[in-house]
C-alpha cells in the first residue's frame, strides 16, 4: 500500500512593517508620480549640463525659469496675455452658449437630425486648421478671426456629444414618464436635459484641447499679438527658453482646464446613464 503524500496550503503570513513601509504602501501612486515628474526635470537638467542633449536646441529647466522670471516683468508680455485670454474667453463662451442649444435641437427634432447629422460629422472630421485660411478670407487677421477659430473649435467639440446625449436616453425612464402620462415637454425637461449633462461634460474635455489649439493656430497664422505669437517669434530667433516658457504656459492652462472638467465630471458622475456590463466591484 502506497503512503499518500499531501501538499499543504498554508495561511497568509503577516510581515511586520515599519512606519515608512506602511505609508508608502498607501501613497505609492502619488509618490511614483512625483518621482516621475521630478525625475524627468532633473534628468533634463543634468543631460543638458552634461552636454548629452543640445542645450541650445532643448534648453534646460533652469534656463526656462530664468526666461520666465524675465518675461513677467515686461508689459508687452502682459499685453499678449490679455489678447490671448480675450480670444480664449470670448470664443469658448460663445461656443458653449451656441453649441448646447443647437445640439439639443438637432438631437430632439428628428428631421433636423436626419439632414443635419451627416454635415455635422463631415465638418467634425474636417481638420480645423484647414479652415483658418478661409476664416482669414472672411475676417482678416485681427482678434475677431482668432476668436472665430477658437469658437469653431469649441463649438464642434460640444455639439456632437450634445446631440448624442439627447438621443441616448434610458428607455426605462421614458416608459415611466409616459406611463404617468407625461407630455413631451415634461419628458424633455425632466429626463432628457439632465441626461445630456454627462455628455456635455465629456464634450468639455475635448473642448479644452480644441480651444487652446485654436488660440495657437490662429495666432501662429496671424502673427499679430498673443502668447502664441510670442512662441513663434521666439522660435524664429532661436530663443528656445522663451519658446518653452510659452509652451509650458499653455500646458499649465491645459492642465487646469482638464482638472476643471474632471471636477465637473465627478460632480455629475451620478447622473451618468448606467452602461450594460459596467459593474462596480
Amino acid at each position: 500500500m502506497t503512503v499518500a503524500t499531501y501538499r499543504v496550503i498554508g495561511a497568509r503570513v503577516r510581515r511586520p512593517r515599519n512606519r515608512f513601509q506602511r505609508w508608502y504602501q498607501r501613497n505609492e501612486p502619488t509618490a511614483l508620480r512625483l518621482v516621475g515628474v521630478l525625475g524627468f526635470f532633473i534628468l533634463w537638467q543634468v543631460a543638458s549640463e552634461a552636454g548629452i542633449i543640445d542645450r541650445f536646441l532643448f534648453s534646460s529647466p533652469r534656463d526656462i525659469l530664468a526666461a520666465a522670471a524675465h518675461e513677467v516683468t515686461l508689459p508687452r508680455f502682459w499685453g499678449d496675455v490679455r489678447v490671448s485670454a480675450t480670444e480664449l474667453g470670448v470664443g469658448t463662451l460663445l461656443a458653449v452658449v451656441t453649441a448646447v442649444p443647437l445640439g439639443i435641437a438637432v438631437g430632439w427634432y428628428r428631421r433636423v437630425a436626419l439632414a443635419g447629422d451627416p454635415w455635422l460629422n463631415f465638418t467634425n472630421a474636417l481638420p480645423r486648421a484647414a479652415l483658418v485660411p478661409l476664416v482669414v478670407l472672411w475676417a482678416g487677421l485681427g482678434i475677431e478671426m482668432k476668436t472665430i477659430i477658437v469658437f469653431l473649435g469649441g463649438f464642434f467639440s460640444l455639439v456632437l456629444p450634445t446631440v448624442d446625449g439627447v438621443r441616448t436616453v434610458e428607455r426605462q425612464f421614458l416608459d415611466v414618464a409616459r406611463s404617468f402620462g407625461a407630455r413631451d415637454r415634461l419628458i424633455f425637461t425632466s429626463i432628457v436635459l439632465p441626461g445630456v449633462v454627462p455628455f456635455i461634460v465629456s464634450g468639455m474635455r475635448v473642448l479644452v484641447g480644441r480651444v487652446l489649439a485654436g488660440v495657437i493656430i490662429a495666432e501662429f497664422y496671424a502673427q499679430t499679438e498673443g502668447v502664441g505669437v510670442m512662441i513663434a517669434k521666439a522660435a524664429n530667433s532661436f530663443q528656445m527658453d522663451r519658446v518653452l516658457f510659452g509652451v509650458l504656459t499653455f500646458t499649465l492652462l491645459g492642465v487646469i482646464g482638464y482638472e476643471f472638467v474632471g471636477v465637473l465630471d465627478r460632480y455629475f458622475h451620478g447622473w451618468r446613464p448606467s452602461l450594460d456590463g459596467e459593474e462596480e466591484g
Binding site: A4, T5, Y6, R7, V8, I9, G10, A11, R12
Partner: protein, 261 residues
C-alpha cells in the same frame, strides 16, 4: 479507511478594512474532510463563505489562518475550478477554450487541443468545437466550462454554483448530465450551491453552512441510492432531506460539529 482527497483544518478568512480597524470574518473556522471519489456539496446562503473557501482551495485566495492538505497525485494540478459564469473567452473557439486549462499548465497549444477534443464529446458538445462562445446557449457554454476543467484531468473538481445562471429546465438537465459525467470520470467533487434540491440530488454529503461569520453548521450524509435519476426528487425520502436541511438553515445556531444521523 478511505483516503481523504482534501483535508481542511481551522481555515479562517478575515478581511480588514484598509484605513480602519474593522475586521470582517468571511470564514470563521472550517474543518472539513473530503473522501476520495465522493461528491460533497457546500450549501448555504450568500455570504456564508462557501465560494471563498473554494477559492482558497483553488489557490485564488490565501486564507488568514489554518491549513488545507491536498492529496498529491502525479498531476501538475490536483484541482480545477468550474466558475459560475461560463466566462469563456470570446476570442477563442470552443475547442481552444476547453484546451486553455492545459495551456495554462504549460502544454503546447497543438497538444493541448488534441487532448481537449475528447472532453468536448464527453460533455455533449460534439461538433461544436469550432464554434465560438457567442454561438452557444447558456447551458452549452457551461458544458464547455466544465469540459475545460475536466480537460486538465484533476483529481478534485471544484464547482462554484455552476448552474446558477441557467434557467430551471436547463439546470435540471445539467444536473443529470453532471452525474453522468461524474460516474464516468470518478472524480472528487466539491460543489457549492445555495439550492437545497440541487445539493441533495447531486451529493453524497451535504455540508450546511451559515453566514456572519461563515461556518459549518451541519454535515449530512445523503443515503439515496445511486445512480440517481431526476425523478428521485419526487420521492418522500428526498423531501425529508430537503426539510431537514431547510430547518437547519433557518436555525443556524447549531454547533459546528453537529453531524447528526
Amino acid at each position: 479507511m478511505t483516503e481523504f482527497a482534501l483535508s481542511a483544518r481551522g481555515v479562517q478568512m478575515e478581511y480588514r478594512e484598509r484605513h480602519s480597524t474593522e475586521r470582517l470574518l468571511a470564514i470563521e473556522n472550517i474543518d472539513l474532510d473530503v473522501e476520495e471519489g465522493s461528491f460533497v456539496s457546500l450549501l448555504g446562503p450568500s455570504g456564508c463563505g462557501k465560494s471563498t473557501f473554494l477559492k482558497i482551495v483553488n489557490g485564488l485566495l490565501l486564507a488568514t489562518a489554518g491549513e488545507i492538505k491536498i492529496r498529491r497525485t502525479g498531476q501538475a494540478r490536483e484541482n480545477a475550478m468550474v466558475f459560475q459564469d461560463a466566462a469563456l473567452f470570446p476570442w477563442y473557439s470552443v475547442l481552444e477554450n476547453v484546451a486553455y486549462g492545459l495551456v495554462c499548465a504549460g502544454v503546447a497549444r497543438r497538444e493541448a487541443r488534441r487532448r481537449a477534443e475528447p472532453y468536448i464529446e464527453l460533455v455533449g458538445l460534439r461538433g461544436f468545437g469550432h464554434k465560438y462562445p457567442y454561438q452557444l446557449s447558456g447551458g452549452m457554454q457551461q458544458r464547455a466550462n466544465l469540459a475545460r476543467a475536466l480537460a486538465v484531468d484533476p483529481p478534485i473538481l471544484l464547482m462554484d454554483e455552476p448552474f446558477a445562471s441557467l434557467d430551471a429546465q436547463t439546470r435540471e438537465l445539467m444536473q443529470a448530465e453532471l452525474l453522468r459525467i461524474w460516474n464516468a470520470a470518478r472524480k472528487t467533487v466539491v460543489f457549492v450551491t445555495h439550492q437545497i434540491d440541487e445539493a441533495v440530488y447531486l451529493s453524497d454529503r451535504v455540508v450546511v453552512m451559515a453566514a456572519r461569520p461563515g461556518r459549518i453548521v451541519a454535515d449530512i450524509p445523503i443515503d439515496l441510492r445511486r445512480p440517481r435519476q431526476l425523478d428521485v426528487k419526487l420521492t418522500p425520502e428526498f423531501a425529508a432531506y430537503e426539510q431537514r436541511i431547510w430547518s437547519l438553515i433557518q436555525q443556524p445556531r447549531a454547533a459546528p460539529d453537529a453531524a447528526t444521523a
